[in-house]
């Protein structure tokens, strides 16, 4: 599903973020990427959502070589993945329903079908009763659930989560992980989750990849955090 081969990334300012990374993630897996600040986690996400190109090597998602994508094709690629950000990135002047609906509108999905799907995912994330509220009226956990609903609305094969629990308390964080587990199981979505939250990595054990200084330090199939 997700193939990263001999990937290095050096930014224009000379900063080396990743060195010769190799990684293979199968369809339906749930994987944590952990590591301290500056370890290359964010760069990895940027490579996966086509915000950056690798300096060397190839990044493939669902058979698409992202580094070779023409600019005009990038929007279409982005519709095939779901991204959940730590800072939510909801459209503030749109309601919760409209925010989720927007992700389907851009794919030109027929309106009736899109509205049906929005209702479906909003019940999946338990926000059906907040459909007409604006993001500012929701708690952090609710906003993050909205972002997850938006990310999965288009039934992506892979869901990339960038510190989705970074702004939430432990109880809300556990709720989000349980929701992601449900999506992973029910929709068969591959989930790649970048996190700092050691407690959570230890409580909800999954395959864990540890990055440090741009290198993969460990790839633990059984999960758990390493010092």
């Amino acid at each position: 599903m997700l193939k990263i081969k001999d990937v290095s990334k050096t930014y224009n300012n000379g900063v080396n973020a990743l060195y010769n990374i190799n990684l293979l993630i199968e369809q339906g897996e749930f994987v944590y990427i952990i590591g301290p600040t500056g370890s290359g986690k964010s760069t990895l996400i940027k490579l996966l959502d086509a915000e950056e190109k690798p300096t060397k090597g190839t990044v493939e998602v669902g058979g698409v070589n992202i580094g070779k994508l023409r600019p005009g094709r990038i929007p279409y690629y982005r519709r095939s993945i779901g991204v959940v950000f730590q800072d939510y990135r909801l459209l503030e002047r749109k309601t919760i329903f409209e925010n989720v609906h927007f992700a389907l509108e851009i794919t030109n999905m027929p309106t009736l079908k899109a509205r049906q799907r929005v209702r479906e995912v909003l019940s999946l994330v338990d926000l059906a009763d907040k459909a007409n509220d604006f993001p500012a009226n929701l708690s952090g956990g609710q906003q993050q659930r909205t972002v997850i609903a938006r990310a999965i609305a288009n039934r992506p094969k892979v869901l990339i989560c960038d510190e989705p629990t970074g702004n939430l308390d432990p109880a809300k964080s556990a709720d989000i992980i349980r929701l992601l587990e449900k999506i992973n199981k029910e929709e068969g979505t591959t989930i790649l989750m970048v996190t700092h939250d050691i407690g959570m990595v230890n409580s909800f054990r999954k395959r864990t990849i540890a990055l440090q200084d741009g290198h993969i330090m460990a790839d633990l199939r059984d999960g758990g955090y390493i010092e």
């Binding site: 086509a50 982005r78 990135r89 992700a103 509108e105 851009i106 938006r150």
Partner: protein, 297 residues
Amino acid sequence: MKIGRHIKEGLIGVLRHSAMSISAATAVTITLLLVSMFLLLTLNLQQITRNVEESIQIHVKIENGTSAETISATQAAIAKLAGVTKVTFSDKDAELDRFIAAFGEDGKIFEMYRGEDNPLRDAYLVDVAKNATLDVLAAQIRGYAGIEKVDYGGENTIKLVTFMDSLQNGGLLLVSILSLLAIFLISNTIKITINARSDEIHIMRTLGATNHFIRFPFLIEGILIGLLGSILPILITIFGYHYLFNAMGGVLASNLFLLRPVFPMVYQVSGILTGIAVLVGLLGSFISVTRHLRWKR
């Protein structure tokens, strides 16, 4: 392409960002008001200049006792002069009619001079081309036989026409400069409106919206803001000019300075204002959105 969706989104954008929409529309209103004022002024100046130009005529008095042959020979000679468009012979009676008419109601008292007592002279009324040199023509006409006096209003007439011409050109220049200023001001305000929403554009991109999909509602928003801003200037143009025209009796100071009739001019000016508003709204938002959509990964 779902045009209905984009129009709806544009409309929602204007409503949900009402504060920014109003400030952008106000910029449109103020500049269009100025454009409208100068446009009305220039169009009227144009009209007045044309009236003055058309009324320039050389009045040539013929000596009493000049024979009919000489009169018609001189008339033919004057007609051949460069710059002369038409020569009309006006006999004493016709001259008295013109004299009486010039005094309006009070002119009736001169009726007593009709007939044998008429002290006026026969005359030629010489119409001249716009670019004719009046003093040269007058001198040439004076040289013919049987001419008593040549009258053309003097240099002041020429000066007035030149002055009106330059006023009119200045007005047009001002309208052009103001239109450019309007485009700059409005596109700048719309730019600020859209810059404030760069996050929104960024989020849309991360979700996989194409540039076209993001841009279209913003263009509709720009047009709507332009149209919103043009409502007041158009109303003021129509009703304000109507009021002024009636209040001044359709003239500026004298019958020579006739104002342009209210209709269809106010509709034409309103059309121009609407055109500027739509164009400027469209251009302003196109330039601003495109800046945010220039491809970066």
